[in-house]
Symmetry: D2
Subunit: 337 residues, 4 copies
């Protein structure tokens, strides 16, 4: 249930309402808006509790939300969530570009890619040190060594870095190096991992499960918020359908829908979604046109030599070209890039 | 197989090659390009036939295409297909807007809608006289009376009209009134209907089947072309997936893919794809950004009174607003609107 | 709405209720059960009409059904529908086997197949004279000649024949020859075709659309019943999913569900569903175990020479072997075969 | 690559071949069959290595498998895998029944359920102590207390127990109590978890991911085998499709396919697959008819009071009734139960 306080309610009154909510066995989350405070009462909605809260003088109204997510919802927080990672604002007016190779494969090649990506126009560097691979016999990432290389690239370029965490054991080490932690599509419902990431103080980008409904995806984010981490980015990356011409089917319509349901920033990964670099520019344009707050793009200076996902990586020149058009579309819809 | 003639080949030489192709039991389709003529040899590809044709002096090369479609392919016709419907060019530089109510429900309301749509900025008027309905008890369309009303609207607005044909029996009457014939998603593999529409001399817009792969969709168009009708528009309208928040999942990535595989113009119907008017502007922008040649949009002056698909219809004001942004995006990617 | 009459209601009283229903603008369908008569009032359910009908002395109760189908529902007709085709009872205790080649490819080969199938243990002969093919360049069937060959096979074996009708133009000719008319997966929502088949007096087997929900499938059958044809067989044949190891994914759970929702017999086509003969026996056993009333199986004496769907055809020996196990399973669940 | 040794090859010769394989940089897994030994050379297949190995006198042949899985394949191990859990043989002639409530909700209720399930005819007790829940606000399981209750139920009934492990941190504790470890659908591609479970010496049942292809599922099992654990059970539990009448669509055809591709036992979970208890008996019969080696069924003495998945739980009486029919079907296909 969502309790909207009167705009004039002071700390004391808010505290009283919080106490009352807890007395019914609910947990309380608080959101301080510009004009009013909103309290999330976590637990099964009950009409008698609503009535009991609504008669309190400092309460404006109590909403029994019809969907199962609460803290990620627009009802709980009207304004878009925005936060800073270094100098970069996520969820603001400017559309944010995260780019780089799929995996960190070696020091030299990664630093070279980082340089190229920076020059091409990225805000944040991406790269995988721990890779989820369908086959146990495929390259699984350089692990901590990869993280160190990424840190060096950050030093060199000044760009913050994002990388994936695969499991609980490596959370500590990944958090030590990375500026943003990525949760992959196969881990979207790894609930224990989410709970632990809800307790770190770095932003988390959570990819949509390849067969997750929009509601399940928002519920996964709810795990993060309800554990205490409000710096969450949602990332659409394609869903599994009968069409196999593309690796996945990008659900571009999820962008306006999620932005309507939730206050969290929504990113799009057109590289994994399509599986081929040549469709990445069109889908990037489509994503920005549809309202995405940012993109996660694979860029690799020599895709043919990539150990992982080469066919879906843009070369830096194509990446730079694409940015010009993206900037134009951003302006049309009242954003910058 | 596709036979590319020498650029200097004259009618006589082309005729000889055609005769030779037929002698092997193939049908021949001809495409006259700016620089050279291309002949499509319809039938199972055979290497010995390729060799026999390639030794002919006026033949430049013979291509054994790896996909099952031929006449719709870029190998058969390199340049984009464009054709005129009245004053409107389909497949040209300008992005074409087809708009109007889902169904023709009455004279007055349709004429009013047509007026509004024209004012809002449409190139072509849409409307359904024969409606495919899941339930036998739902409104099935005004049939010929609906067509007459659409013809009156054309008279009044000067805009060409597009409407759906549901079955073989009504082809003749629909063709008499309409400027473009629409084949719906449920009829995409109604092969007998396609063969007959391949023999009319009006353009056909063929919607993608809701569970058709891109290849099957192009094969359906191949039925039209191989029966003689080259004025074909492909229209993406959403595919059926596990996600039910939207009515269908729009496959925006199909746009760049089909434009790469085929020379035919590609349109998008965001109204049926999403099922809700409020997501139509975002998806229209995304479609144009991804390279669509046109849109098919439901617009209704009073959606709440619509007998069919009201929830997915834009009101004229929203439609006009959307066009402003569409125009901006079109310019960014080198098109007009 | 469904109007259940008192068990003692006579013709006169039933007639009065029918008249009253019609006075509200509804059509009436009648189902004579063993103990009572049920009237289907076709049109949008209205509570005031229900009330007006319920006060009539011969009416036991009026049900506002919550699903959109009515005549096909168990509420309208409690007992399973069963009917005879020649000597064969469809929908009775005995599980019915329809078998034969996918397409009629020639007189000799078809008669040979028919003989083999009969010997193997089939109740009804299948075969395609009009074939829906993805490619316009594939074999499209022998048309009327194929029907004549099938009729000859019927003469020879004494087995009734089932064949597919592809379009409205050929309904008349197909009905002239066939004992059961098949509507294919791509035509499940060819509503005009369904309406016309609702007016013939031969049974219709309607395959589930490859992307049709169970509800849409029942609505397609509703088109047939509401047009007057109550001899309808539903046939599950696999749905389109992300899994491509099989040609389609057989939805075996649809069997118990449809039998719960509807009184119509439910058949299964494991040949098209799996796309490979070697999985046909397992899936046939599964279908019968789950409650199917019959099977539609492709059997071909020399699958390698088949012009159409050879890889999914059983040879007659495998077919006969399978029947032994099927008989055992049938007995376990209280059926015969 | 798979190296088939001569039937007369002794330890020394096998050792030499192993050494040679390793000299090319491959890992070696060994499978001792009745007639011959098979060596799996793990790594990318190379033709030159095949040739080098095939000339060795004790090598019969070297197979370059075309699918990416190897240790789970029939090429690597021809005979069905069977192993014992207590007195129960998994993968043998007898079909194995695992039954019990979805979650352990309390001591008394679980012990009562265990008693009922045993009486009804189960071989193994199921129950969840750690529950993966879409919502962070739902009941998440009793954790270790639940495991203790399950251990008590094992004591009482003499039946081995199976329960799910959700994350790496709880592997140790779950392994301490359980006889079989279950990996849920959402963890099928939690590769780190799989690697760790590959190192325990208890059997692992791995459910198919709800959107996993058959190949991806077998690759997940390959993670377990290649890490050292060969006691693996595959469990089909329904895939996500457009049909939402059932919770998931059970892919019954996966049973014969996986049994053809792999030597591992295949189980089916009809409770999660359908989501409703009333369809469980039909689907259980179908699964056994199609060749399943066992079932995982939810049984709860009072489903209405269940905290988790009550609607899909059978009451013990229905469960017992079902077993009678299952036994009959098992006999028909040459199995026992």
């Amino acid at each position: 249930m969502i309790v909207v306080m009167d705009s004039g309610a002071g700390e004391e009154e808010i505290g009283e309402v919080e106490k009352r909510i807890k007395s019914f066995g609910y947990d309380v989350h608080r959101s301080n808006g510009v004009n009013c405070t909103i309290l999330g009462a976590i637990g099964y909605p009950r009409e008698d509790v609503r009535d009991a809260l609504e008669v309190m003088p400092s309460v404006e109204k109590v909403v029994l939300v019809s969907h199962p997510f609460m803290l990620v919802s627009r009802e709980f927080k009207k304004d878009k969530t925005a936060f800073k990672v270094g100098e970069v604002e996520i969820g603001g007016e400017k559309i944010v570009l995260m780019a780089g190779p799929c995996a960190v494969e070696g020091r030299e090649s990664y630093l070279q890619a980082a340089e190229a990506v920076k020059k091409g126009g990225a805000d944040i560097l991406r790269g995988g040190a721990y890779k989820p691979r369908t086959s146990p016999y495929s390259f699984q990432g350089l692990e901590e060594e990869g993280l160190k290389i990424m840190a060096e690239a950050r030093e060199m370029t000044g760009l913050p870095i994002i990388t994936e965490v695969l499991d609980q054991h490596s959370i500590e080490i990944v958090v030590r190096y990375a500026d943003i932690i990525q949760v992959g599509t196969r881990n979207m419902q790894n609930f224990k991992l989410l709970r632990e990431l809800g307790q770190i103080n770095k932003p988390v980008l959570i990819k949509r499960g390849m067969s997750a409904t929009i509601e399940e995806w928002l519920m996964a984010a709810e795990y993060l918020l309800s554990s205490g981490n409000y710096q969450v980015i949602l990332c659409e990356r394609g869903i599994r359908t009968f069409e196999t011409y593309t690796r996945y089917t990008m659900d571009i319509s999820a962008i306006p829908i999620v932005k309507e349901l939730s206050h969290l920033p929504v990113f799009v990964d057109p590289s994994h979604g399509t599986g081929k670099w040549k469709w990445v520019p069109s889908m990037s344009l489509a994503a920005v046109a549809a309202g995405a707050d940012g993109l996660l793009v694979e860029v690799h200076p020599s895709p043919k030599e990539a150990l992982c996902d080469g066919p879906q990586s843009l070369v830096p020149e194509k990446y730079s070209q694409m940015i010009g058009s993206l900037r134009g579309v951003a302006q049309i819809i009242g954003r910058t890039l």
